[in-house]
Amino acid sequence: MHYIPYLSTLVTFAFTAAVFRRYLQRRGPHLLIWSIGLLGYGLGTLSEVILGLTFSAAVVKLWYLAGAMISAAWLGQGTFHLLVRRRGLAWTVTGVLAAVSLLATVLIALEPVQGGTYQVSQPISSQYQAVLARSGLVIALTIILNIYGSITMVGGALYSAFIFWRKHILFQRMIGNILIAAGALAPAIGGSFVRAGLPDFLYLTELVGAILMYIGFVQATVPAPAQAASPVPSN
């Protein structure tokens, strides 16, 4: 299992670079916000790489903050920006998410870490509850942010795929959105395995999720044959 976070980090940072490059070309705010979410995802898997080599209290906090708390919500927020036509509403929700993310950062920075029982041979997902003390507020924020991220990212991608299917248009984007939804769900299912006492699956589902979302993004951004306006915004 130890080599999986290396692959996840490589895939995720390549994916982040591809999305950010597209942002520099197209300037869509959803692309910038997806880049932020993917950066968080990549920092989470990079933390797993480091924690497989040595213990660091700061890296444990980074792993929880970036990987478990904020990455899913920011990925979902990118989809929210893409699908919600009211710019003011989208930016207001982004502002709220930024404030909540800042609060999460402060709370995690203040939480005590006890590394006495930490074993580098075991995944952090199987040990974090013993290592990182989490207040009720931190746990509540983690759940709220992840549910918001799942609904917006998975729900948004499935909604787009359904519209394309119903109208029989943009086959590649339809497939791409299905892959993005499946990829976004993979680490969420991995998180459920952690709750069910099977923490080893998290690393694998993170890798599968990053690969599926990357392939989905590539599929969804294949240029359409004709450049007419799209009924559902493109990725």
Partner: protein
């Protein structure tokens, strides 16, 4: 506009909505696990 359309096959007609429904069910499963663990159920 016409070139943006795809010809639906038997596979896309059934498989795509089935896949979408499956993924929605998976999302609900994740939420159910979170809710059950919050309610104190040992999973």
């Amino acid at each position: 506009m016409k070139s943006r359309r795809f010809r639906p096959t038997r596979l896309t007609h059934w498989a795509v909505p089935a896949l979408i429904a499956l993924l929605l069910a998976a999302m609900l499963f994740v939420f159910a696990v979170v809710a059950l663990s919050l309610l104190g159920f040992k999973l």
